[in-house]
Symmetry: none
Subunit: 172 residues, 2 copies
């Protein structure tokens, strides 16, 4: 699980995106900026300049506070290794590029277009290759407890399998 460091107020739009995504974040408040009013449980702030140890302490406190709220986030490195919940899998290059986008957008919708650009830079292979690789990515990520959910007519969304949003499909 990661805490995002956000300079504030210069990166306030990034802060908003993280807030919408319910991602934990630490605001690094620039020297002359006013102090922010923080009510989100996944957010804290520290005044710059700050000791490295103080920043680390706030990150640790934030993580400890959120430990009860299950906000674990998967990670992927540059060799295509995805780690989550103590397990890991390795991905082939193309799927690693797709997974990288989905991981950074964890719990947020990623458009098909965005994924296509990430997987095939500078070309458009059409619809099917993406579909097939999403399918293969699903099978590889499943053992980790991760799920690639389809958001019809919008794109895809990576989320934890068992936790949180187990949506009952309405009968109709």
């Amino acid at each position: 699980m990661d805490v995002e460091l956000v300079r504030w107020p210069s990166q306030s739009d990034r802060r908003d995106r993280l807030q919408v995504a319910a991602r934990p974040r630490l605001l690094l408040v620039e020297p002359d900026a006013p102090a922010p009013l923080v009510t989100d449980l996944a957010e804290d702030w520290v005044r710059l300049p700050a000791e490295r140890a103080d920043v680390q302490a706030r990150v640790d406190s934030l993580l400890a506070r959120l430990a009860n709220l299950d906000l674990t986030v998967p990670r992927i490195d540059e060799w295509g290794v995805v780690r989550y919940g103590g397990k890991q899998v390795t991905l082939p290059p193309l799927e690693a590029r797709l997974a990288a986008v989905l991981v950074t957008q964890f719990r947020c919708v990623t458009t098909r277009d965005h994924l296509t650009r990430a997987g095939w830079p500078g070309e458009d292979p059409g619809r099917n290759p993406l579909d097939v690789h999403i399918l293969r990515l699903r099978r590889r990520l499943e053992p980790l407890g991760l799920r690639v959910r389809t958001v019809r007519s919008r794109g895809y969304l990576l989320e934890a399998d068992s936790a949180s949003s187990k949506v009952a499909v309405p009968d109709m």
Copy 2:
């Protein structure tokens, strides 16, 4: 309720008493002391020396956080993802447009007319489609602990389901 200001670590015994009493407190961490690890939701800290405004901001945030713990407001993003109480669901386009209105009017009555204009811009599909989609929206939002309540002859109203479990509050 007030926030107690505690010098730390010199008044650490007072801090412990306040913690046992579940009283909100702000630790004023002395210049050379190590940063404390804070997991209690009723506690925060600030490194001395600190601006008066920064201290005030932390006090305000602490009070606001405690006041808002069970007054969480649902949110919806532009891709139709509704988040509330640590859970989330994705909505199809039409229901997302309806939900967007109900979410921004949280706990306030929204007229059928308003919802119709939001769901079907530039046309009027009649009464029934709206009713049906309200029903479908109800079923989708139910797992989040949200309820669409009917206000007879007035409209609809989104509110928290009273039976839903609130966010877990550690150490309080």
